[in-house]
């Protein structure tokens, strides 16, 4: 069976709202409009306006309300139309949600999910294209999930809603319509994925490529191309940016001895940098070549199609970096 990411998310929301009456959804246009990207389609009709709430365009206000209701014991899902707009509410995500369980020594937990599209879409320019994975991923108290496939979307969303801590759930607009094969197990209402575990999407022996969200697909395509050149790529879908599955990454690199990281966000202080550091910390002696990183270009996102294409990673960038990592011999180090 095939399922697209939108339906995967929608079904996960539906099932968890069915299973737990404390779960509710709020955000701009999530109700009557059925979601700006239709992720919440049908939920208002099914669960009613007490549990699917259209909000005004006031992110700080409604995010604070969501967090406050989680203090009380509800399990809100707060949709940001995109994560760019969550910057208006980031103080509540960090200071009110992430830190409260710690500050209160466990007295007040904050079971909340912040979700919405993150990073670049197509042609939406600088203010609508930022990737926030690294920012949120730096904050203790938050969990940060980045689904790629329909399986990821379903399993991680269900895990996020059930999780007792604040979860930042970073979707990707360009993946909503993408379809993936799903097993019966994945479709079962009991299906859930573990938080903090990466998935080896493709087993390989020559080089490890880490990616998350949309870039997993690019990495897999690059791996296919590289196969023809005789390079056998292991692709790791990170799934969880925080906790980061350092173990899976390091194990893979200890096997392949080479690492290329891929992300759409800006490079400085990014996911690639952290993964490189982690491998240097834990597996330095296994590295046969410098770690390579592919990232979004270090510029605000331009609108023009040709510039935009240069500003987001392409399959050819991954191919080139992998080749650099592989053709460099261990002794050349």
């Amino acid at each position: 069976m095939q399922m697209n990411v939108r339906d995967a998310l929608n079904s996960a929301l539906d099932e968890e709202m069915t299973a737990d009456s404390k779960v509710y959804l709020m955000g701009e246009e999530v109700g009557e409009y059925q979601g700006a990207y239709k992720v919440s389609k049908g939920l208002l009709q099914k669960f009613g306006p007490e549990r699917v709430l259209d909000t005004p365009i006031t992110e700080a206000g409604f995010t604070g309300i969501g967090v406050g209701s989680a203090f009380y014991g509800l399990k809100p899902i707060v949709e940001f139309m995109t994560f760019n707009f969550a910057m208006q509410a980031i103080d509540h995500i960090i200071n009110s949600a992430a830190k409260t369980n710690y500050m209160s020594a466990g007295q007040i937990s904050v079971p909340i999910v912040f979700r919405g599209p993150n990073g670049a879409a197509a042609g939406v320019a600088a203010q609508h294209s930022q990737c926030f994975a690294a920012w949120y991923g730096s904050c203790p108290g938050l969990k940060v999930l980045t689904p790629y496939s329909a399986e990821d979307a379903r399993g991680l969303m269900k895990a996020a809603i059930r999780d007792p801590d604040p979860v930042v759930f970073l979707e990707n607009e360009l993946l909503y319509g993408e379809s993936f094969p799903v097993s019966a197990e994945v479709l079962d209402p009991s299906f859930v994925l573990p938080i903090g575990k990466a998935k080896i999407e493709r087993v390989g022996s020559d080089v490890t490529v880490t990616a998350f969200s949309k870039m997993v697909g690019y990495a897999l395509k690059a791996a296919e191309l590289l196969e023809k050149d005789g390079i056998n790529v292991e692709v790791i879908n990170l799934r969880s940016i925080r906790p980061l599955d350092r173990e899976t990454i390091n194990q893979s690199v200890r096997k392949t001895n080479r690492l290329v990281t891929v992300e759409e966000g800006w490079p400085q202080h990014g996911i690639g940098a952290e993964i490189c550091m982690s491998v240097v910390e834990e597996s330095f002696e296994y590295l046969d070549a410098p770690v390579e990183r592919i990232t979004g270009a270090d510029v605000p996102m331009p609108y023009a199609a040709n510039l935009e294409r240069m500003a987001v990673p392409q399959i050819e960038d991954i191919v080139r970096a992998v080749k650099r990592a592989c053709y460099r011999s261990a002794s050349g180090k």
Partner: protein
């Protein structure tokens, strides 16, 4: 013919903590003819943008202004380019009103080199600083304190002019609006807060987003005025009044009662949360261009045929501009790395694969 005459404003102004201005506007045959031509050009431009979007020459978000033209035109009629304007993403017509050209608009929309920001900003980010237009902002509400900041600068530089910060009915609930209004009032900034109430924020009707959708009163302790935003002359009269108030007394809020014909942006058919009757009702009874056409005919300033001719002319202008814009090349790849900073100190900016693409920033 610029002989002035006066026209009664049909819909009464409503004041909040202020005496509204007289219910009459001064105009001239010349001005009315320019209103007609300029609004017709805007209307055509937006329709052309719709078509370009549908033929996939414009990407991403594209928010059209048709229906709301009188706000822009009436405002420009009362301001000089010493006054500043700042608005949200629905900015094509504002740009035109501030002296931008059609080819720049279409080139930008298609991401070409001759666009108003060389293709870098796209639909939502037009600017014309030399004529007092400061964008073109994508984050709902953000332009409002920015506008108060422009007003602060005018006052700081002792320029006797005002800043008009435009925002929608959806944006009207944003906290930063209230924060900046308090400061503007404390500091007597020449800031005019202009709510373009087109009655929907995306798919949300005003009353579903605001407990009090009387936006001209939402400044609370700041005076406000409600204006028929479909009547360019009403807008002109209100803006003149507001500018004067802002310069001499500090901030004031205008609510422009207006309407957008198109959906919110191109992915929104614009018909799920409102009836087709509602839309056609506004078109028939309140259309800002038709109102001026009627007035011109009534005052016998021009004939039906003259006006049809103008419409043909602007249609041609628009077509030519589209054609010209289509010829415009994509921006040079080097533009990827330009304008990150004014001064880059020789630091290096990296492309996606830094060992393959990077640039030294001068």
């Amino acid at each position: 013919d610029s002989t002035p005459f006066t026209v009664d404003i049909a819909v009464p102004f409503k004041g909040h903590h202020i005496e509204p201005p007289p219910q009459v506007a001064e105009t001239s045959p010349k001005e009315l003819m320019s209103f007609f031509r300029d609004m017709s050009r805007m209307r055509r431009m937006e329709i052309a943008a719709d078509q370009l979007y549908k033929s996939k020459l414009i990407r991403g978000f594209c928010h059209l202004y048709d229906g709301q033209e009188a706000v822009c035109i009436g405002m420009e009629a009362a301001l000089t380019q010493q006054d500043n304007i700042i608005t949200a993403y629905r900015d094509h017509c504002t740009y035109l009103g501030r002296g931008g050209t059609l080819p720049e608009v279409f080139s930008e929309l298609m991401g070409r080199k001759d666009g108003c920001t060389l293709g870098k900003g796209g639909s939502m980010h037009f600017y014309k600083k030399e004529n007092g237009f400061y964008g073109g902002h994508g984050i709902v509400g953000a332009q409002v304190p920015l506008g108060a900041g422009l007003a602060f600068a005018q006052k700081y530089e002792k320029v006797k002019a005002a800043t008009f910060a435009l925002y929608g009915d959806g944006a009207a609930n944003q906290g930063q609006l209230f924060e900046s209004l308090n400061i503007a009032a404390l500091w007597d900034l020449p800031a005019v807060y202009v709510c373009e109430n087109n009655h929907y924020g995306m798919g949300t009707a005003e009353w579903r987003a605001a407990k009090s959708p009387e936006y001209y009163k939402r400044g609370d302790y700041v005076p406000g005025l409600k204006v028929d935003g479909m009547d360019a002359l009403a807008v002109k009269q209100a803006v003149k009044f507001a500018k004067d108030h802002a310069i001499t007394k500090g901030p004031i809020m205008l609510e422009m009662d207006t309407y957008r014909y198109h959906g919110h942006s191109m992915s929104d058919p614009g018909s799920t949360y409102r009836t087709r009757d509602e839309i056609s009702g506004v078109r028939q009874e309140r259309d800002p261009i038709e109102r001026i056409r009627k007035l011109i005919l009534l005052k016998e300033i021009a004939t039906v045929a003259d006006l049809k001719n103008i419409e043909k002319e602007v249609k041609k202008e628009v077509e030519d501009a589209v054609a010209k814009a289509k010829e415009s090349p994509q921006p040079d790849p080097s533009a990827l790395f330009s304008n990150v900073y004014v001064k880059g100190y020789g630091s290096r900016a990296f492309g996606c694969d830094r060992k393959h693409s990077s640039a030294v920033l001068p």
